[in-house]
């Protein structure tokens, strides 16, 4: 058995040597693009989209080469036409199957995942997360490889195999729409669990089926079993996910959270709305508690539902008892007093003298703190009368600002972080400012069950360069506010698209020097400096139900702060005493 395995493996290895060379080239390109992209892309934000596209195409090239390798290896001794020379040679078919599977395993799983592991390691992903990411990526990669292997085993030639592999994702997509209508994915993480279990079950069932096919070579029976396997995997994945929802959101509540929750008492200060066509937009402002913010806690919203109910008669042109539907678009803001925020940040980094803060007389009152969660949500609001009620349920996430990373800049241009998820890629010092190019890795929801870091990029993070000996610091501003470049790390294949276990954000932060610094911000100053990232860490969640009543018309005594929408178009307004939500 072992001898036959070695014979077949070596034969296949020789056959696909050119494809393996292309795979090595593609993996090399993948490594180079993943590792050297950061410093370049951070200063060429205009090219970010092109690079992203190139990266995506390169991922598909990698998948294509893997696919070609699997098909070539399997069809080198085709089982379809009963004419393979090995059929009547003294080799066991289980050995042939094992040798070919091993080759597919190496080409489509081991080599790419090793390259991927190297990238993760380079970006300082911690070991446990690397292992989880390997399992996560591996499961979807095995799913892809098994699927291609199976299709290659039941088709007579490469053309037919490709045809099936093109048709299959279309059918799978169609199938997924079909079953989405019938099954409920309500508990959070359920869908992820179902898909994960499906990939595992599908792979296990079909590996067994491939062995069966190699022994018996009965294609109609094999295809019948394949369909049965798919249905079983689909059904069992739901049963498993229902009982073991491994990706369920895990609330982590600390002892202090109860006290904080009591102290929070969040109340929306005002709701504003505007109308455009059939769309009503609401902006909900939830005030941060200044005291808590000063202590390093802040609120954010994450999961939202919104429902509108209506009362009597018509609005505007609508006839009595008529109904019309409006689309609701809403955004939740969490304004905060800037000075409280700054003092909390300063406290976190050891109260250094922040040299490049705005002058004290600059207004620091309210700054809109746009929410991290989804920024728009559509629903239908039924108007059936002269007043309507909007009900919203907002989940508040309480974050604690923490030092996410502190990286020494003692080796200018390149420094490793002690803290995992960050890595300083390069530091550039100019006459009026310094730039730090760094990477930040965030795990996907599957790898971060507390969802504490599941933000591809976080606008609320704050970055500082702090000189530890002089206790001076510089605060940073993003070089390119809307061009943070991110790459989905992990292997992408047509069947596991958007299932990357880790996301890499490549960012550049500018640290403007003050006009007349008291100390010279020279090379020596940076030698003793640290790059510090402030990250919000999720403490827990609170529920906030709100109700908002409004009616047609335009208020005569609209308070000044509500007058930000076109009054001519305003035909609904809040009923008095709205502040008692």
């Amino acid at each position: 058995m072992l001898k036959a395995f070695v014979i077949i493996f070596i034969k296949d290895l020789r056959k696909i040597r050119w494809l393996l060379a292309i795979l090595a080239g593609a993996l090399g390109a993948h490594l180079a693009m993943s590792i050297f992209a950061g410093p370049w892309i951070a200063f060429h934000p205009m090219q970010a989209k092109n690079f992203e596209r190139l990266y995506e195409w390169q991922s598909y090239l990698l998948s294509f080469v893997e696919l070609m390798i699997i098909i070539s290896v399997v069809q080198a001794d085709s089982l379809h036409r009963n004419t393979a020379v090995l059929l009547t040679r003294p080799v066991s078919w289980s050995a042939v199957c094992t040798a070919k599977m091993f080759m597919a395993f190496l080409a489509a799983i081991v080599f790419p995942l090793t390259a991927e592991w190297f990238i993760w390691h380079y970006y300082s992903v911690p070991f446990p997360k690397t292992m989880l990411a390997l399992i996560d990526s591996g499961v979807f990669q095995v799913f892809f490889a098994v699927n291609v292997f199976f299709m290659a085993a039941i088709t007579p030639d490469i053309k037919k195999c490709f045809l099936i592999l093109i048709i299959e994702p279309v059918l799978l997509n169609w199938g997924s729409y079909f079953y989405r209508d019938f099954f409920c994915f309500s508990p959070e993480g359920m869908e992820e669990s179902v898909v994960f279990y499906q990939a595992i079950l599908f792979s296990i069932f079909n590996i067994i089926l491939i062995y069966y096919h190699y022994r018996h070579r009965r294609i109609p029976k094999t295809i019948g079993c394949f369909i049965l396997n798919c249905l079983c995997a689909l059904f069992l994945s739901f049963v498993l996910a229902k009982n073991f929802n491994i990706f369920a959101f895990k609330k982590e509540s600390s002892a202090s959270f109860g006290q904080i929750a009591k102290a929070i008492d969040v109340k929306p200060e005002f709701i504003r709305h505007s109308i455009s066509g059939d769309q009503i937009s609401f902006d909900i402002f939830l005030n941060q508690n200044a005291d808590l913010l000063r202590q390093g806690f802040r609120i954010a919203t994450q999961f939202k539902t919104m429902k509108g109910t209506s009362l009597l008669n018509s609005i505007s042109l609508a006839s009595p008892k008529a109904q019309f539907y409006s689309r609701i678009n809403y955004q939740i803001y969490t304004p905060y007093p800037m000075n409280s925020y700054v003092s909390s940040l300063s406290r976190l980094i050891g109260n250094p003298r922040i040299m490049n803060l705005p002058p004290a007389n600059e207004p620091l009152d309210y700054n809109l703190f746009p929410d991290n969660g989804s920024d728009a949500y559509f629903n239908k609001l039924v108007f059936e009368g002269n007043a309507a009620i909007l009900n919203a349920k907002i989940n508040l996430r309480i974050d604690q600002l923490t030092v996410g990373a502190a990286c020494d800049l003692s080796h200018p241009g390149h420094a490793s972080c002690s803290t995992p998820y960050y890595r300083v890629l390069r530091t550039i010092r100019q006459h009026d400012a310094a730039f730090v190019i760094f990477s930040r890795i965030t795990p996907s929801a599957r790898l971060d069950l507390t969802r504490s870091t599941f933000l591809w990029f976080n606008y609320n993070n704050a970055y500082f360069i702090k000189n530890t000996s002089s206790q001076e610091a510089l605060s940073g501003t993003p070089v390119n506010t809307n061009g943070i470049f991110y790459l989905p790390l992990g292997l992408t294949n047509p069947l596991s698209k958007n299932k990357s276990p880790l996301y890499l954000a490549l960012m550049a932060e500018k640290f403007q020097f003050p006009e007349n610094p008291m100390t010279s911000l020279n090379k020596d100053w940076f030698q003793h400096a640290q790059f510090i990232a402030i990250e919000p860490k999720t403490m827990g969640y609170l529920n906030l139900p709100i109700e908002y009543r409004f009616k047609p018309g335009c208020p005569e005594e609209t308070p000044e702060k509500f007058k930000f929408y076109d009054e001519e178009k305003c035909f609904i307004y809040p009923i008095a005493n709205q502040n008692n939500f």
Partner: protein, 304 residues
């Protein structure tokens, strides 16, 4: 165990059509047996069932004492199989292919392999994809002989080969047969080649085996008879049913006696055609095959 191949009531259907229908056949050890038949007779299907490429719907095959369904590496190391349909790894050179095969057979004989390469004049340095069809068949044969198989199964080995290559191919096998203790099973519709090679013959048509005996017996049994009748002789209405292809040409009759016996058949003929002059000539395998095939189809049609 007297038979290298023993087929019992073998049936294979594709859809409703029985391609092989209750076939019974034995091939003793040491024989070169040829299964003849027109295209679509079921020869290749039978061979594929022998090699466990197809599974029978009914019946059983014992091959070198093992049920064909249980043929595994151990049994295949004693069997050589050459088929016109086999797919070779075209990307390899002939040498690489032989080296690849060598690793699979414990009994591989390098010296013998070299002598086969010389015998067949194989250009082993060439890539298989650049070889002619004849060369590919010879390469396959070399790869199937170099380990001294106990049984060699050849499925349509001559089709597509030019007469010169056929001649070389047969000569090669015959030369080796003197030294090797093997059984050869050939399925073919190339009768002349088979006649030179085989010592046992089976004729198959529409899935059924019509004849199964040694070539010598068959050629002795089938004789062309020509009788010049005397003036008063009449042709009886009932003739022996062993007389096939009966024809009258003026005062002469010709037929094929399918049960000819040297010591009794001339007397029977004389009794039926008294005073006639009998001329007996032997038939070659092609003629016997054609008579069989023609007669079988006529019988089937009249039965329908």
């Amino acid at each position: 165990m007297d038979h290298a191949i023993e087929i019992m009531s073998l049936t294979k259907k594709f859809g409703r059509r029985a391609v092989v229908d209750h076939l019974n056949l034995q091939v003793p050890y040491g024989r070169i047996y040829a299964l003849l038949g027109p295209n679509g007779a079921g020869k290749t299907t039978t061979v594929r069932m022998l090699m466990n490429i197809f599974q029978p719907d009914q019946g059983e095959i014992q091959i070198l004492g093992t049920n064909s369904l249980k043929l595994g590496p151990k049994e295949f190391s004693k069997i050589g199989y050459v088929s016109e349909n086999q797919e070779l790894p075209e990307w390899m050179t002939g040498k690489e292919f032989l080296r690849f095969c060598r690793t699979m057979y414990p009994a591989w004989d390098d010296g013998f392999c070299v002598s086969l390469i010389k015998l067949f004049d194989l250009p082993v340095q060439e890539k298989i994809k650049h070889m002619s069809r004849g060369m590919k068949m010879k390469l396959l044969l070399t790869s199937s002989l170099a380990y001294h198989p106990k049984l060699l199964v050849l499925d349509e080995p001559f089709s597509g080969l030019d007469p010169f290559v056929r001649q070389e191919f047969i000569a090669g096998i015959l030369r080796l047969t003197d030294d090797e203790e093997w059984t050869i099973f050939v399925s073919s519709h190339d009768i002349e080649e088979v006649e030179r090679l085989a010592d046992g013959v089976g004729i198959m048509d529409e899935g059924e085996l019509l004849v199964n005996e040694s070539l010598e017996d068959l050629e002795n049994r089938f004789q062309q008879v020509e009788v010049a009748l005397d003036e008063h002789a009449t042709i009886p209405a009932q003739l022996p049913k062993e007389w096939l292809s009966f024809q009258t040409k003026g005062r002469a009759v010709t037929f094929v006696d399918s049960q000819y016996r040297e010591n009794s058949s001339p007397q029977i003929i004389q009794a039926i055609f008294p005073g006639g002059t009998i001329n007996i000539t032997p038939l070659n395998l092609r003629e016997i095959f054609l008579i069989f095939a023609h007669n079988w189809r006529e019988t089937k049609e009249s039965a329908c």
